[in-house]
Amino acid sequence: MNPAGVFVPGTTWLHRVSAGVKVGGLFAAVLLVLLIRTPLLAGLAVLVAGVVLASARIPWSVVRGGLRGLAIVLGVLFLVQWWASGLDDAAVTLGRGAASILLAWTVSMTTRVAAMLRVLEVGLRPLTWVGASPERAALTVALAIRCVPMVLDAVRQANEARSARGARPSVSSLAVPVVIRSLRMADGLGEALVARGQPRD
């Protein structure tokens, strides 16, 4: 797994604008895009989204793979809808989908995971109204990110133990050990948090 996420380093205006502004702008843009009802405006939205993505100067080799996947999914949806409710509706759906996904990509590819975590913490502030803590929520997400390689390692260890025993891959030789190893890992992590007096209220 790429630990940096889908972020691509750069120095364009999109990289420099604060993460909160980008996420807020994305929400506003998606709301506007959802109001589109004509193929012409939908095409214009895709064009604008494309220009915004291009202004982030993401290397073509990174964008290409994603564009291919997007083209396949949206192409299938387009054909199904063309068949079901006509060309105009299909074009509007295609344009709205492509524009909002391109914009969302642009935000994710120009914003570091750490910056997005801080936006998440701010976004979760309403949690305090129901007695939950946004800091605790953001810390849990950060812990989970750190745990992914550890769990992948637990999968590898369980698989090595299985082949050392000469057992064939099965639920009891692979899935059960992985889950038990994960739970033990959670015990250790929990104790480490307690020892550090986390989470602070």
């Binding site: 999914v73 994710s108 997400v141 889950v179």
Partner: protein, 200 residues
């Protein structure tokens, strides 16, 4: 003041339990991500590979219970939202959640809660083979919950008729999801025998 002291002690204990809950939620969110990244077994007689993502979601509910299970799925969704490539097909970012398949991801949260609630009911009442049977039913109950959010979302996003969305968005995955529910039930039953203190 003894009452103050005991209040402080119980406060600290409550805080320690929160730390342990947080750790379990974080590790299971990571488990869902790891199972999504590990290449799934190709479906027999088909070229469509399926991921073990729903296995992770079902396990989170069945092993951790409704509250922590649903929280683990929420943390997993947050990991996708902040831009980690942990959704199926190594995708990540806000576009995954707002895309045509975002409904399934939202459905996962509810499914983990439903599976968790039902499997806690089962494990409180039954042991051994009876528990595995009950857990199978509990895990299967998550499938319609995921489809109930995912399929209308797909239909609305694509503007396709509901019946067609049901075909491309549910029937294709049904066999794989049933198999994964069965695996989750067997695993949970084995884990309940290995670590019974977890389920008290």
């Amino acid at each position: 003041m003894p009452t103050d002291a005991s209040a402080a002690v119980s406060d600290t204990l409550a805080q320690d339990n929160r730390a342990r809950d947080m750790a379990q939620v974080a590790v299971f969110a990571a488990l869902i991500a790891a199972l999504t990244l590990v290449p799934g077994v190709p479906l027999i007689g088909s070229s469509v590979p399926f991921t073990l993502q729903t296995l992770g979601v079902t396990l989170a509910g069945a092993v951790l219970g409704p509250r922590k299970g649903a929280l683990a799925v929420l943390v997993y969704l947050a990991m996708i939202a902040v831009g980690l490539p942990v959704a199926s097909g190594y995708k990540g970012g806000l576009g995954v959640l707002t895309g045509p398949t975002g409904g399934y991801l939202v459905g996962f949260v509810l499914a983990a809660a439903v599976v968790g609630f039902l499997s806690r009911l089962v494990l409180r009442r039954a042991q051994g083979a009876k528990a595995t049977g009950g857990l199978l039913l509990a895990c299967l109950a998550g499938i319609p919950v995921v489809y109930a959010v995912g399929v209308p979302w797909l239909a609305a996003f694509a503007g396709m008729p509901f019946g067609r969305a049901l075909q491309v968005g549910a029937l294709v995955f049904l066999i794989g999801d049933v198999i994964k529910a069965a695996i989750a039930a067997v695993v949970t039953s084995a884990v309940a025998r290995a670590l019974p203190q977890l389920f008290r």
